[in-house]
């Protein structure tokens, strides 16, 4: 599971466990679009405390772009009547950092990205502390809303063996993109993927004087 998504699952479960949302959490549904092995990720999420899962099957090697995932999630959130969608701030493969914002835009919902703290108040209000350049800022909105998680939000739990066993019995619904009226067309064509130029270490020096003279030689001092 993408590490930021672990934070999302953990936060959902904590909101329920700590009864921090007035009215409680009725249902935690996790969704993943990908090849069959995405089901392992969904089982892990259910072992952490999610109630049920939806697997949107996508052919192996057919990656969806963030805009497509956002459209899928919009359809799913409406279909499942969700009023809070929590996503990771970015995936650590594509590093795009887009899906949550796109989803909020498509739904017309408030967004709070890069959350390091989520607090519920009266009347469905949610205050979110966000990590920004140079520090943090706090914004407040009413449900329904979209939150994306940052590293400092929480410490995800490990799934215990009994919970892993229980997760096997939790419902996992299989769907296709067509069930949500989505096609996997692509706007970006990857022309090539290359390795970045390798950096060669320049070796070591014996002492601080050596360090200073080498830095001078390199023009860094």
């Amino acid at each position: 599971m993408n590490p930021f998504d672990e934070l999302s699952v953990e936060e959902s479960v904590r909101i329920r466990e700590r009864k921090s949302a007035p009215g409680g959490v009725e249902d935690i549904c996790v969704l993943s679009a990908g090849p069959p092995k995405a089901q392992d990720v969904l089982r892990t999420a259910m072992a952490m405390g999610a109630d049920r899962a939806i697997h949107v099957e996508v052919k192996e090697g057919e990656d969806l772009e963030p805009l497509t995932v956002a459209k899928l999630l919009k359809a799913a959130a409406e279909q499942q009547k969700s009023n809070l969608v929590i996503l990771g701030k970015q995936s650590i493969d594509d590093d795009a950092n887009q899906t949550g914002q796109m989803l909020a835009g498509l739904l017309g919902w408030p967004q709070a990205t890069q959350a390091s703290k989520v607090e519920f108040g009266e009347g469905d209000t949610v205050s979110v502390t966000r990590e920004v350049d140079g520090g943090v800022e706090t914004v407040r909105a009413k449900l329904p809303m979209v939150i994306t998680t940052d590293l400092r939000l929480n410490e995800p739990r490990y799934a215990s063996l009994p919970n892993i066993m229980k997760a096997k019995k939790k419902p996992l619904e299989k769907k296709t993109l067509a069930d949500f009226g989505i096609t996997a067309d692509k706007r970006l064509k990857v022309l090539k993927v290359t390795e970045p130029p390798a950096r060669q270490g320049g070796g070591k020096v014996e002492d601080v004087d050596g360090l200073i003279s080498k830095l001078k030689e390199l023009g860094a001092l």
Binding site: Q101, G105, T138, V139, K142, V193, V208, L211, I212
Partner: protein, 350 residues
Amino acid sequence: MLSAGRRAFSALARPTLRNATSPALARSPAALRRLLSALAILEQRDGKLNTGSLSAVSAARKLGGSVHGFIAGSNIKPVAAEAAKVDGLEKVIAVENGAYDKGLPENYAPLLVENIKKGGYTHVIAGNTAFGKNVMPRVAALLDSQQISDITAIQDDKTFVRPIYAGNAIATVESSDPIKVITVRGTAFPAAEIGSGTAAVEDGVDPKVDSPTEWVSEDLARSDRPDLATASKVVSGGRGLKSKEDFDRIMLPLADALGAAVGASRAAVDSGYADNSLQVGQTGKVVAPQLYMAVGISGAIQHLAGMKDSKVIAAINKDADAPIFQVADVGLVGDLFEKVPELTEKLNKA
């Protein structure tokens, strides 16, 4: 006055574009006639132009078409006048409304969309800053465009280069969207200079969408040291510093001796040695200073993602096998609690 097409052509002939191989632009005169026009999103805070956001202008200029700047907020006139001096800007679109001061995406995104549609822009570019990351994907979704995040190079008007997998791979992607929404990595596009430009300042359209989100407060780390993202020298501390007290005692004098910004590894931030906003790496800041000095940092790939484009990397670590030494131009194996104070003292004497 030059026609837009000729402007595009003369821009192409500029030597600055020598390195940007742009076969599509060079090959097809039709591409020139298709009037490239880019909107660069400029940020302001408390009535001051955020010069970091001027990377968007540099990137937009590489496209070779006309470049307009966009700015919004309260008391915007003086900021717009400053922006008008930025080299390479033909026009500055300004929207005067305090509702945009905090850059809330719920009203800022519709604001941009209206102005993008009105101006008929083919490219919309912002820095990959906290603001850019928050607002631009929402703009892209409203325009039904697949954003291209954190680009490091422009090949032609539709082909862009961006790092993936924490910078361990470099992807070249071609966009088929009519409006390209792009965020740029600041370290790859040096900020355009506030020079002697004389761009016209024009009022933009203001759809005045209410934001359902309310800005409550902020807590920004104040520092007299250079800004981490744009500093020419960075000293960065890791887990090896052992405590916040030691971090401050060892790293801050070194930073001051060098005139450097202070950074930190995730381990140091998670342990509370340094503020979150100082984190360098895949999930923190990406820096590319003249000198990056890593102190007590092992060099995990997530950290390297944030600093491996630095011109010179120096490392001080007691573990001679630490991966940081594989990328460091100069490495010193030793106890940082002895070596760094010695280094600081010698730098201060010099």
